[in-house]
Symmetry: C2
Subunit: 245 residues, 2 copies
């Protein structure tokens, strides 16, 4: 168990959409911001780490949603760097409503990268110690994202200037916008996301044309793949349910 | 003079880009959020107004920038509904850094709409009185956006699900993303925005294909026009200067 860190936040209008619920990309951004603040609170600055050539990278998320927060709703975000081993660090995020009811829970898998060499390095124990995160040989198992043969043509997205973060890379949350937008307004208005698994494989660069493949099964599982130049950048699998109205 | 209302905010990583400065669209969103909060503080809820068939709509902005706030910078946003007349309400926003230095100043022109009829209505004096905004016959003059003949082909943007707000319309700030992205990464990395004038003419709907026309003059004035189905949705004019580096 690591140290828990929490913040309370009101969901602003600009993070929501026609469902009145928070955008999934904005949800991930808010959770990441809270983990950034946990690091700041113990004197770790990810931007300084980047300047020293070391970057944190998320490789996998597993999200379970009971209910998404709505416009102007006050939520509490709790995060914890749970444990780390030689190459992986595991962090969880839990959102609660103002009554203390759990809204959603996110598992994340992080690696440390040598930014210049673009290769994984061993997790730095001193950094983990600062946030009370202990070494453990435990390997967390994330649900496997099934291989899928897409028969439908992809939706095309061009990477835009404002998709690029301060480090010059496409913000991880943008992939979720590409995947979800491909499902179309009718589907998104009529269904609620229950679980989401995403695996990040390769970065997308500015100006690249992105192919967003999506296919929906009868059991309301959607499969997603982001490709550039015939190489996979990210894959995802989501479980949906019909909205009660 | 209306009642001033202010909030302090730290600029999150996800609102910034490769320049380390805040995205212009995120900047407008943050300012609008503060004006929403001013309304909430006196018991006015724009969502309730919408439910009653009345909407606030911005028709014009004039922005003057000394410096844009940067990632993790703490800023204070001050807003004031300055005066209103029969059809227009004028609101200003000023951003200050943590030393109290002014970063930027925004003038905005608002109208009230009958949402069903899609037509302007007279400003409701009772609403204005609640935020200490007084009637005045003064008409604020905004810089005129010059007509411009575009010789270059437009950049095409498809309206996406997450561009649509809780009321089912494209968020006003998205137009700024379409306009600015069309200038390209090289230009945006090498230049700083000094002034921006934008005029909103018609709404864009979900799924529409947007033409973003842009043309840059030698004196670093950029002209912008957003068109759908050969009709103008928004026009803008921006003054830039070369970045000192």
């Amino acid at each position: 168990m690591g140290q828990q860190y929490q913040e309370t936040k009101v969901i602003p209008f600009y993070s929501t959409n026609a469902t009145s619920e928070i955008n999934i990309s904005a949800l991930f951004n808010e959770m990441l911001l809270v983990s950034e603040h946990q690091l700041h609170a113990v004197g770790i600055d990810s931007q300084q780490m980047v300047a020293q050539g070391i970057g944190w990278v998320v490789t996998k998320y597993h999200l379970e949603i009971k209910r998404l927060p709505r416009i102007n709703e006050k939520v509490t975000i709790v995060t914890e760097a749970n444990s780390y081993n030689k190459f992986f660090c595991y962090r969880t995020f839990t959102l609660y409503d103002s009554q203390g009811q759990q809204l959603l829970h996110l598992l994340s898998n992080w690696v440390m990268m040598d930014i210049k060499k673009r290769s994984m390095i061993e997790v730095i124990p001193e950094t983990m110690a600062k946030i009370g995160c202990e070494y453990s040989t435990d390997i967390w198992r994330f649900p496997r994202i099934q291989r899928f043969k897409y028969s439908q043509s992809p939706q095309i997205y061009r990477t835009r200037f404002f998709d690029i973060d301060v480090n010059g890379h496409v913000n991880n949350s943008i992939y979720l916008d590409w995947m979800l937008d491909s499902l179309g307004k009718d589907f998104l208005m009529q269904h609620q996301l229950q679980t989401l698994d995403i695996k990040y494989d390769r970065e997308v660069a500015y100006g690249q044309s992105v192919q967003s493949f999506v296919q929906l099964e009868d059991n309301l599982i959607s499969h997603h793949q982001i490709l550039t130049d015939n190489k996979v950048n990210a894959q995802a699998q989501m479980q949906w349910q019909q909205r009660q109205k």
